[in-house]
Symmetry: C2
């Protein structure tokens, strides 16, 4: 590709929850793209969506759809990515995939531009993976602290929003909240469970409740979501032996994942030192003045790009450990934004080639 | 007091949120009491409340109200307990106090009957304290595991219900949920904050949100709630040097606190060993079969007495550490039930004397 021609971008899954956010993000960011081609399942073909202020007709997913595409983003289920990302790569596109299909493939880099942009250059399969939204909601802040203090252990608990389960999750919470609003439910066992009826994608009610299970069941009682946080954090940070323990819990929040983080480092830490790093790190906002009621919450963070960090404390028993409360919009940095950032890194590389 | 005469119990704060639950609990449990005297602020005097199926008139708090009382429970604000529990004790009653006024007083035992019933016997001030609801929501399960494995460290994150803030907390969540129900709010920053209006007792919206701050601000960025979990766990377990780190977060749940717990022990642990202990420990229910969707959630635990434990996993990096998800009804075991249990321990001691 010549440096003069702007690259062609394909958005696969343009009509989905993340795809919709993606079109908004592509319309807001510096415009590095030539054609933006929108691709979705055949049943969505022909719909017109707005991107960069223009109506673009959605075309059906097919091998031919990738003709002339330089970079193809995939915001589709794992099995669709597993089938189609290699096809896009075979047609000469760099595939940037937001599914779980390739994340732990040793021949596929797992990239967060603020942390390991360099990894995007080495892509033997022509595929780059975007991390899971829970990992992405904290990793930019942890990468910045790691660069200074040397991370040795993470113990995290999540407070995950329902939009992490897609539109079905959002609809389920809204429906259930409508059923319990204005009632006296919530003081007897089973009250809420009986009232909400349909559980949607969740194994328990999500209105007036928290659900300590996300994803599918893996070995030894761990959930897939908990193992993703562990494995992906290790891969992104380049720390294959990092000690990582996660407990993932769904909460009745529409969008923005939160996490409590106990982070242990090789070296002693101070709150002042952590504040200095977090207040200057790209992609991070420090919001930590509880005396003035300042700490991040999903209601304030939703719709924004950065990773927000507050409640920074040094462990009372361990001068090498910090406690943090971290929030990130799971549809933006947790999905669409990071995918867009990776695509921009590749576009810059192609332009310089 | 002779063994033949049943002791007189006073319930101070009978009309409050915890007091109301207390009257229900006293009506359900084995009846060890002679007179049950209901005491409240002067403005509630004259109201009639039902306990043990009988209407009892509330009398105003005064020195004379404690005449002939053997045991006086206090479910009132800290400053009311600080003033009146010593007066009750001076009148010859044993005061069982559910406020924070005396919990860390070295001359006041802090008692959870399943864990340290013996401590109730040594009460130089005539006062016994009931722990904070967050500590109580996990400590029975941890006490049982400690007895077997020897606890060395706790790292906990809470998912605390609004009834921990009393009636004002419940009303605030209900009002806010009514305002956001049926709306499309929750995808733009500040949407929910603008919609809910009054924040009630919280520093941020609690509907469609989580709030990473509970209690008041103490030194080095810690909240009072986080320090209570630390200090009270150490005192109850008799482990003054136990490493304890807590991050306390409020969630939109009416009643029942949940906690994720990373518990490290002196000895190696197994999930099977932990299951055996938790399935037989008094006051604990093991609910841990995620393959069948079995784990505790607040919606199922609310209104029950035990501490429920699920999601038991051994840390992948540390054979001495367990991960748990624990739920306890913060108004029952977290407040009224434990106070009633302490009073019963004292009643049995008095009867045997």
């Amino acid at each position: 590709m010549s440096a003069a021609k702007k690259p062609t971008l394909a958005v696969v899954g343009a009509t989905g929850a993340v795809g919709t956010v993606m079109l908004g993000i592509l319309s807001e960011r510096a415009d590095v793209w030539g054609e933006i081609r929108l691709i979705a399942s055949p049943r969505s073909a022909g719909r017109k969506l707005t991107v960069r202020g223009e109506q673009v007709e959605v075309i059906a997913l097919s091998e031919e759809a990738f003709e002339g595409v330089d970079i193809a983003m995939f915001d589709v289920p794992d099995e669709v990515s597993a089938q189609w990302a290699p096809i896009a790569a075979a047609k000469g596109a760099v595939a940037v995939d937001n599914s779980g299909a390739f994340r732990m493939d040793p021949d596929v880099p797992l990239v967060v531009p603020e942390v390991n942009a360099h990894a995007a250059r080495v892509r033997p399969r022509g595929i780059i993976s975007n991390p899971n939204c829970t990992t992405l909601s904290m990793i930019v802040a942890l990468g910045a602290l790691h660069a200074e203090f040397g991370l040795s252990e993470l113990i995290v608990s999540s407070y995950q929003a329902v939009s992490g389960s897609g539109k079905e999750g959002i609809d389920t919470l809204r429906d259930q909240v409508a059923k319990v609003a204005g009632t006296d439910l919530g003081s007897q066992p089973g009250d809420v469970r009986r009232a909400v009826g349909d559980l949607g994608p969740y194994p328990a009610p999500i209105a007036f409740n928290v659900v300590p299970f996300a994803g599918s069941l893996k070995e030894d009682g761990w959930s897939s979501e908990e193992l993703k946080v562990r494995n992906e954090s290790r891969k992104i940070l380049g720390l294959p032996d990092l000690r990582v323990t996660a407990t993932c819990v769904r909460v009745p929040v529409i969008t923005t994942h939160s996490l409590t983080v106990h982070a242990r480092f090789e070296n002693e830490v101070t709150v002042a030192g952590a504040h200095e790093i977090l207040s200057t790190a790209p992609g991070v906002v420090l919001c930590d003045n509880p005396a003035e009621g300042e700490f991040p919450t999903p209601a304030d963070v939703v719709g924004t790009d950065p990773t927000w960090v507050g409640r920074v404390r040094r462990s009372l028993d361990d001068p090498k450990a910090l406690e943090l409360f971290v929030c990130g919009d799971n549809l933006r940095k947790g999905a669409a934004l990071n995918t867009a950032q990776i695509a921009e890194v590749v576009a810059a590389e192609l332009a310089a080639a």
